[in-house]
Point group: C2
Chain length 501, copies 2
Amino acid sequence: MAAAIRSAVGRGAAVTGSLPLRTAAVVPGAMRFASSKSFFPEEPEAPTVKTAIPGPNGKKAISELDQVFDTRSVNFLSDYSKSIGNYIADPDGNMMLDVYAQIASIPVGYNNAHLAKAASSPQMVNALINRPALGNFPSSDWAEILKTGILKVAPKGLSNVFTALAGSDANELAYKAAFIYRRQLERGGPDVEFTEEELTSSMNNQAPGAAQLSILSFKTAFHGRLFGSLSTTRSKPIHKLDIPAFDWPQAAFPQLKYPLEEHVEENRKAEQASLDEVEHLIQNWHLPPAAVMVEPIQSEGGDNHASPEFFQKLRALTRKHNVLLIADEVQTGVGATGKFWAHEHWNLQDPPDMVTFSKKAQTAGYYYASHALRPNKAYRQFNTWMGDPARAMIFRAIIEEVERLDLVNHTARVGDYLFAKLEGLAKRYPEHFKNLRGKGQGTFIAFDSPKRDQFLAKAKEFGINIGGSGASAVRLRPMLTLQEHHCDILVDSMEKIVKAL
Amino acid sequence: MAAAIRSAVGRGAAVTGSLPLRTAAVVPGAMRFASSKSFFPEEPEAPTVKTAIPGPNGKKAISELDQVFDTRSVNFLSDYSKSIGNYIADPDGNMMLDVYAQIASIPVGYNNAHLAKAASSPQMVNALINRPALGNFPSSDWAEILKTGILKVAPKGLSNVFTALAGSDANELAYKAAFIYRRQLERGGPDVEFTEEELTSSMNNQAPGAAQLSILSFKTAFHGRLFGSLSTTRSKPIHKLDIPAFDWPQAAFPQLKYPLEEHVEENRKAEQASLDEVEHLIQNWHLPPAAVMVEPIQSEGGDNHASPEFFQKLRALTRKHNVLLIADEVQTGVGATGKFWAHEHWNLQDPPDMVTFSKKAQTAGYYYASHALRPNKAYRQFNTWMGDPARAMIFRAIIEEVERLDLVNHTARVGDYLFAKLEGLAKRYPEHFKNLRGKGQGTFIAFDSPKRDQFLAKAKEFGINIGGSGASAVRLRPMLTLQEHHCDILVDSMEKIVKAL
């Protein structure tokens, strides 16, 4: 349980005392920096920028790679052997503070020593060279790997897991569970046998065997790029163009106005309108939704937030209409919002029916509680590998490191520190830092910038690796090991960036 | 190139001479066994069966695992630390000859020493703990990992790779490439911009932005279980029931009669009828196919073969109509058919447009040649991880081991040996070994058994782990390290099994 981790070390407790006190005096302007013990004694004091990024070595290697692998989306090549903690190295000797972290998927720093230990263990070698078909021949230690890892942080109320390989397939497997569950209900329960017509028509991709059902998602949502998940993704045309899609419904996601305290009534109305649309679609869409899929914070779509009340009402609404609620925690999960799972911020009495995870978990899957979500027969949810024990063991080591350093509470605290500094910046440069959002959400912070793409490009010149999302958002997705002194460097650099724009 | 591997060690060359000569005399009846040097000196002489499988330890552990993980498809729990070579161990001290090999996905034996070395390397630890977003920040050694691994065995004519995580997503990514390519052609080339209507409609899952196109697959095909791949899977209702599907076309796959030499004309007609249906569907299906998807040997569907002429004509047909041809080598790839890629048996002048792989490669993706299959813009084919360098390195080590032991030619030879022995068995027990097939296809051999499920269950009593497919097939899916003396044990056990049925 995530609660166990949160209470393992009290909020505010110091990080392990054996780490040396950071001496910040080497860096010009360091006196303005908060002092904090570094989690990584070998981490540099500050970014180093020696060349354009990518530099000559990087460019040469990219063009070599491009012969065999599409590199048009490559930002720069990384030298992971030299990367450390929150800093990413490239082959030209540049060292950047990385607040993008492999699109929000590095949790506890590059070359984390505890992860390295787990990765060198005999159990890991065994998992790498004897990869099981987990549904047929799991290893005798699979239950232990799950219980000491993935399930130790299971969201409150959810005790089972179906393992997968990436966020997209985790989401699609959850959708499949929802469709199977819904059809079982419609059929009159798990013991009712399939009709001959269902068996035959399923092989022709036709009803009634192929369900005439849908997944309801929200506008500007991102749930992945495979055919089912892409049908629920509504972030950008470039993700969807030319790919066949299911005719599934979408409801508007509330577009909150900032600062929140100045738009209370307006935002409340926007949330209610969204809920009303969800209810309307549940009752009227020609392919009835088996589930509603929602991100606690829409991430790829531009960091769109909604209030806990919105999610509480969404839970009530789905319960009322007997539609499942799936929380997509692929990007929000594993601590970045200052809770282990972002949906903990909702304070639900009644948990989501399924919660999907990937990215910072370094493995993927979905949690669920009800045995009714296990299909009535074996082999309905099945594939060859059903995940990867090697990656499940990395997640276990990540969880151990999160516990050891109390990184969830740490991130809540650092997020507050960072948000306050960004508020200061936004006051001084309101034209560059619009709609600052993510207060009280750990380091899951974003703002809109009219010159967003230039901002992101310019950031590299100051040794900051940072990403965007949606149409105009700059999003912060640092690791859980981001500390106050990194925030100082980041905010200081951001000021330089906007001055240079 | 696969050709390089095949010529690296001449066909028929002895395996590495340093391995001790196998002494087979310990096993009862060993005088009938062929002598062959074992690739694994520590491999047992024969299976050991001490308990029912699963035994008491296994059953207890399964019921523990079932609290958190659906175990209804579990055959038995494995003890991978004690498994060796072609033998799989369980927690009750049983040791089975494994000719199922994690649903055809273990290539070079359990606890292969060369793989263990690769899995313990510093480069592996680095890949495990610093997992990159390969599309944005690949490591500077990614090109080298690809060129010395995945691309070293690229099918003839295909020089590029898009990496993925499992067979299902590899197939879906290939489908996406096909749809994007086809729409680009229809639009008038890669430089033609999307219309406003395409951009808008794509976000609503509607035409013209969402393509009204399809993938043509074959009846009894298996291409995976995600929403797009499942729409092309036509193996069994249990895979498809209750899951929404695209209205995509299927053509009959030729149902060849055995022995082939007695049904030449009939089989030729069946193949022509299938090709005619493909052409008809390409020309008339309401959602035109962007690609034809085909397995060289339909595997999950029951080991259905077709002749090289069939595939040559299929290639010509798809070329004629400007439809892409994708070979799904997820199960057939990596040596099991006596060629590195099964489609090498087709002797095409003009390679398939894409070839997908997974399973024995321990990583997944698709090969392609044409830069026209790279979408016109970046980020159209993209996801966070885009594969896993750790698993790509395991594939590299597998390729090295295949080269070192000349395992492709070895498997061709052992397959011939095994097939001849099974022909003998089929003559003596024709009621149990029907439609024996896979001659000249390495160890990719199957037969139909009227008591198939009992056969598979009974096999465990004799220490053989073996699988089925389709309605009544027993399929052999051993590792590439299967040797003549294992074949002797296997065939001997099969005789005992059918006698006990």
